[in-house]
Symmetry: C2
Subunit: 127 residues, 2 copies
Amino acid sequence: MSIKRKTKSLNAILSVFEQREEALSVVDLVDEFKDDMNKTTVYRILERLENEGVIHSFTGSKGLMWYAKCQTCTTHHHHDVHPHFECKDCGKVECLELEIEIPQINNRHIDSASIMLQGQCADCIKK
Amino acid sequence: MSIKRKTKSLNAILSVFEQREEALSVVDLVDEFKDDMNKTTVYRILERLENEGVIHSFTGSKGLMWYAKCQTCTTHHHHDVHPHFECKDCGKVECLELEIEIPQINNRHIDSASIMLQGQCADCIKK
DNA sequence: AAATTAACGCAACTTAGTTGCAAAAATAAT
DNA sequence: ATTATTTTTGCAACTAAGTTGCGTTAATTT
Ligand SMILES: [Mn+2]
Ligand SMILES: [Mn+2]
Ligand SMILES: [Zn+2]
Ligand SMILES: [Zn+2]
């Protein structure tokens, strides 16, 4: 299902992604908008935005769903197989616009990879 | 909490890991032993085995917990930061004893990585 | 055999995510 | 501008994974 109408709710969520560079967990988004919209709505808007190639999703280290803005994706053509970074101190999650070469393993046919790097972000190193 | 007693239940779960090379999801284990032990027991035994360095855990692509036998780990000294492989066709998950060099990113301090490769396993390619 | 400790079962709970359906809002048709 | 159609939303109920508290059982010590 694609986006038929750009509603107030959709624009609210969209603007969050446009204003900050980091990824957002669905849990945080549901919480952030808990006074404005139902959690089902949040899930459905994220689904629509992903189908449109506006945002992409991935699974964080604790198994939660995360979303982040896409850079060069279009409808049904996601090409963001980039690694992600998670700060162990502040919990921040970021997309890494960085090519990691996926090794080909004996006898297997590998076509994608989810790579999550963990450590300290720039801000947290200083502290 | 470490292992104080090697019970029947613990040995049953342990032997599963010793008999097959692949990783196992907790969901599958709970199901496999549903007639023999409570799911809480399964979770707790896995926790103990992990603390002992007998098995290690990781999060699969759907956010589920997976466990696999450790190769060279000891109590509180896990060094299995290896990538994992998930077959999109049959669902099999395997540890890859393979070094992937973790890139150092500008300003960040990266100390670990979860890498999940996806594709077709050797068996499923043939079909 | 009695006391202590570790492991287990069970039920109840939490949290993330999903589904069905009716109501509301937006768009299109008349 | 009404009316009809379609899309979006809220709500409540549900599923599934994982956790917690507590009383009971089982293993180990004394
Ligand atoms: Mn990303
Ligand atoms: Mn492994
Ligand atoms: Zn940080
Ligand atoms: Zn396979």
